[in-house]
């Protein structure tokens, strides 16, 4: 496990694998660096503790928040919205992307439109979503759906296109019908990539839910952050930001772990 002294310079050679312990160590060092930077900025004589509160105050704020009634209902509300919007998007975008990737006429008909729609910034859709869906749960779910559906459909289509044509040919010479090629070859072959695309969309969905909640909501992580701002409760804001980051990190790792576990066969071709 130990490295030769001259191996240190070798570590910076392109694409050299890193020992596990060093990987974890460096990751921790990155976080420690952030904390250090925060402490340093907080200790500067020109710092106003309202801007950069001392860490103890964040810790006490965290204690009060975690034992209070609002926190868990906020998490539950945001989590529910993201899950509902994302599931809906997956449900429709995966078959749609499969068709775009598999059939040229569908690609020609829909891809340019979808490309256009995905570049409409999601926050700009909020007014129109509110006009259509009001300010209830439906509006937030609709916003997440709109924000992820088009992106996901195009990413799925790209993954489907990346399944080698030779595999399609092989399946055809074995007697596969069009439907079987779609389900047994294109979908199966694209599945690891699709899961990865859903992971990315999940990250974006969390941004959208926070934006939506800041505009119209009575609970949720985004709503609460804005409320803390009204009362200039900086420590509380930092607690919620940490929570948002941790949720994102945890879900991302979960998706990666699923992908690695479920699609071990893809290891050699991906990553």
């Amino acid at each position: 496990m130990s490295l030769q002294p001259n191996a240190w310079s070798h570590l910076l050679a392109v694409r050299t694998p890193l020992p596990r312990w060093l990987h974890v160590g460096l990751a921790c060092l990155g976080f420690a660096g952030c904390v250090g930077l925060y402490l340093w900025a907080g200790a500067r004589p020109d710092n106003n503790p309202t801007f950069i509160p001392p860490i103890e105050r964040i810790a006490t704020a965290a204690q009060t928040i975690l034992s209070g009634p609002d926190f868990w209902s906020d998490v539950r509300a945001s989590f529910g919205r993201v899950t509902a919007g994302l599931l809906l998007a997956v449900l429709f975008a995966v078959p749609f992307g499969l068709w775009i990737g598999a059939f040229r006429p569908i690609e020609a008909l829909t891809q340019p439109v979808v490309e256009f729609l995905r570049y409409v910034p999601v926050p700009a859709l909020i007014p129109i979503v509110m006009i259509f869906f009001g300010i209830g749960e439906g509006a937030k779910i609709a916003l997440i759906f709109l924000g992820t559906f088009f992106q996901l459909a195009l990413m799925v289509a790209e993954e489907v296109r990346r399944v080698p044509n030779d595999l399609v040919h092989a399946a055809q010479t074995l007697g596969a019908s069009r439907g079987e090629i779609l389900s047994l070859v294109l979908f199966r072959g694209a599945l690891p990539g699709i899961l990865d695309a859903v992971r990315l969309c999940n990250g974006w969905a969390w941004s959208y839910v926070v934006v939506a909640e800041m505009i119209a909501a009575t609970e949720g992580l985004g709503f609460r952050v804005l409320r803390f701002y009204r009362f200039i409760q900086t420590p509380n804001i930092f607690v919620y930001l940490l929570v948002l980051g941790l949720i994102g990190l945890a879900l991302d790792q979960l998706f990666r772990a699923c992908n690695a576990r479920l699609f071990r066969w893809a290891d050699a071709t991906r990553r």
Partner: protein, 286 residues
């Protein structure tokens, strides 16, 4: 059994159309093992893809048992030049792929008959020496193993015709010989009519009962030579027999004729010989 009638393929292109091969006419009888030999780029793969139904012919037609071919189908199995195993399926699942397809399902078959088809897949795995790898995914296999699985997968459904496009082209010499022996063995047992594309003369003579030689592009048949050896004769020693070597010489002569040597290249070669590049001084080569 298989007949090609005035088959021809031209790839349309904006600049200049590529005439890949043809016109080619060929009749293949039941149980024959035919090698298609020809220089690189003469249209062998294209011809095979057309017979498989994966590509359209520009002119002419392909008939199997009198039926015109219009698209791909399970009665024409194919082993490709590249590795085409489904990476998400294990070796065993790959060989059984065709059994799960609706088109190959026989709804009148008894449960015993269905089971026997699965048993056949396992039998082929065994015959091809793959039992130890049955539960591995393709990424854990060597190139030779992958092609064995591809052969088993193509044979499971008992195709009328087996098409092989330089299946051993990417393998090292020893693995290649192993698989050639295997093909001879398989053909003895299965008697599947086979069209085997290769550009290796020895391989063509060793495995097949008839060698069809293509000219350089656009490929046309310039020779159609029966190989007189029985399958019992086909041992490694055969390659040293005078009769074998004589046939090899004949085919090599035909192919040499088809080489794309042009005058410009000849001139360059002569110049190289006349003015050899000076070697670097010995002190530099440390």
């Amino acid at each position: 059994m298989l007949s090609l009638h005035q088959l021809e393929k031209t790839f349309p292109a904006r600049a200049a159309a590529v005439h890949a091969f043809g016109p080619v006419s060929l009749d293949v009888a039941e149980g024959e093992f035919i090698s298609l030999l020809g220089p690189s780029g003469c249209g062998k793969s294209t011809a095979l893809y057309i017979i498989a139904g994966l590509e359209h012919a520009s002119r002419g037609e392909v008939r199997i048992d009198g039926q015109a071919v219009t698209g791909p189908g399970p009665e024409r199995g194919m082993v490709f030049q590249n590795y085409t195993l489904f990476p998400w399926l294990t070796v065993r699942e790959n060989t059984r792929f065709s059994l799960q397809l609706a088109r190959n399902a026989d709804y009148t078959a008894s449960p015993a008959a269905i089971l026997s088809r699965h048993a056949r897949a396992d039998h082929l795995i065994e015959l091809l020496g793959l039992e130890a790898f049955a539960h591995h995914h393709p990424r854990a296999l060597s190139g030779g193993m992958k092609q064995r699985v591809a052969i088993a997968r193509a044979l499971v459904n008992r195709p009328r015709l087996l098409l092989m496009d330089e299946p051993f082209g990417a393998l090292d010499a020893q693995t290649r010989e192993e698989l050639q022996d295997l093909m001879i063995l398989l053909h003895r047992y299965e008697r599947t009519t086979t069209l085997f594309v290769t550009h290796d003369i020895e391989e063509a003579l060793f495995v097949s009962s008839r060698v069809v030689v293509f000219s350089k592009r656009p490929g046309r048949i310039i020779a159609d030579i029966p190989v007189p050896f029985s399958s019992a004769d086909r041992t490694p020693a055969l390659k040293l027999e005078p009769a074998f070597i004589e046939l090899k010489r004949e085919l090599a002569g035909l192919l040499r004729h088809e080489r794309a040597d042009d005058a410009r290249r000849q001139e360059l070669l002569h110049r190289l010989v006349a003015h050899p590049t000076p070697r670097p001084p010995a002190s530099l080569s440390l």
